[in-house]
């Protein structure tokens, strides 16, 4: 094989990577690039954790840290570079979503910048779903006003049911997880769960939202237990109500 065509091919590849048009080739490259970066980050974090445990074993008085802050900060510029490289196209969104949630420190500039770009460049994208699922839970990181404004903007401008469904689901979950919830806040959260079901009825989030509503409406302490119909491990059909009159300990278990 002559050498020149190989060189030409390399030059051609170089121009493709630098090109602005977001063809399918670039989308494939970007997703491979994201997966590679994420794998590197996970490996570095796992190594960091191993070192923590080693150090703690040798010196039990050392405080154990759970968040690999140095590793996160080492990777932030890499994800930020990639986001800039794909700026303005959907391919940037996974990198921005990573940057949005990587550093949880209050008011950190990386989360703020990522949110600003997601809202200015990508607010109508269908690919915003993962970011949408995170934003309502970032009150401590971004401040509740910034979060509320972001939610309002996405709900107003994004036309995709799944994106909005995930906003509603996370917003409601954050409220229901709190120690104390006012009656009004709880009612609003349950309304959010219903919107999630309406907007994306076939999604996993809708099934979970149905579970939340079922628990709130049918499974509270003091309520009569709803029946369960199913099969046992041998495939024999039975019902929970077959054991009526006894005290029942219902045990959700698995061998893992």
């Amino acid at each position: 094989m002559p050498r020149i065509p190989v060189c030409l091919a390399l030059i051609a590849l170089g121009t493709t990577l630098g090109a602005q048009d977001a063809g399918p080739k670039q989308a494939v490259d970007a997703s491979a690039q994201f997966n590679k970066l994420q794998t590197e980050f996970r490996k570095a974090s796992a190594d960091w954790r191993r070192q923590q445990w080693e150090a703690a074993r040798k010196n039990p008085r050392l405080p154990i840290r759970m968040v690999p802050t140095e590793i996160i900060h080492e990777f932030i510029p890499k994800f930020a570079d990639a986001a800039r490289q794909h700026a303005g196209t959907d391919a940037a969104i996974p990198f921005l979503t990573w940057l949005l949630t990587a550093d949880r420190a209050p008011n950190n500039p990386h989360s703020k910048a990522a949110l600003a770009t997601l809202l200015s460049d990508h607010v109508t994208s269908a690919k915003l779903a993962d970011a949408a699922a995170s934003i309502p839970a970032l009150g401590r990181t971004l401040g509740t006003r910034v979060v509320d404004d972001a939610i309002a903007k996405i709900l107003a401008k994004n036309p995709h049911g799944l994106v909005k469904a995930r906003i509603y689901y996370t917003r409601a979950s954050v409220v229901l997880r709190a120690q104390k919830v006012s009656k009004e806040a709880k009612a609003a959260a349950l309304a959010d769960m219903r919107k999630c079901i309406d907007l994306a009825p076939e999604s996993d989030f809708a099934s979970r939202a149905k579970g939340v509503l079922y628990e709130q409406e049918k499974l509270q302490i003091g309520m009569p237990v709803p029946d369960i119909e199913g099969e046992d491990l041998d495939g024999v059909a039975f019902r929970l109500s077959d054991y009526k009159g006894k005290v029942i300990m219902l045990d959700f278990w698995g061998d893992w």
């Binding site: 369960i228 300990m249 219902l250 045990d251």
Partner: protein, 100 residues
């Protein structure tokens, strides 16, 4: 896990008590083998091939394992948590015996 549940089943063998599992293993054949090996004598619903994402646990909004629910002899839910409150279980069984 299993020894504790086995001891409950034994302790309350002659009382108005039933331990009913909801098993969330994906592979029903594998779990049947474990049931035999570990002498699991109580009955379980199977949550289906989706495992922890199966229909019973999803409907009941269970996202942590184990989860224990206690139902009194009148059919009312009295307790839900990741760990059993044994004193409450004993109280509920005592109450059920008085009625019997």
């Amino acid at each position: 896990m299993y020894p504790h549940e086995r001891s409950l089943v034994k302790k309350y063998a002659n009382e108005p008590f039933a331990l009913i599992g909801v098993n969330s293993d994906k592979d029903r054949d594998r779990i049947r083998g474990i049931v035999e090996d570990k002498d699991i004598t109580w009955r379980s619903f199977w949550n289906g091939p989706k495992g922890t994402g199966g229909p019973i646990s999803t409907r009941w909004n269970v996202h942590g394992w184990p989860t224990v629910v206690l139902i009194d002899h009148t059919g009312k839910i009295r307790f839900r948590a990741h760990q059993l409150d044994e004193k409450l279980l004993e109280k509920l069984i005592d109450a059920a015996k008085i009625r019997h």
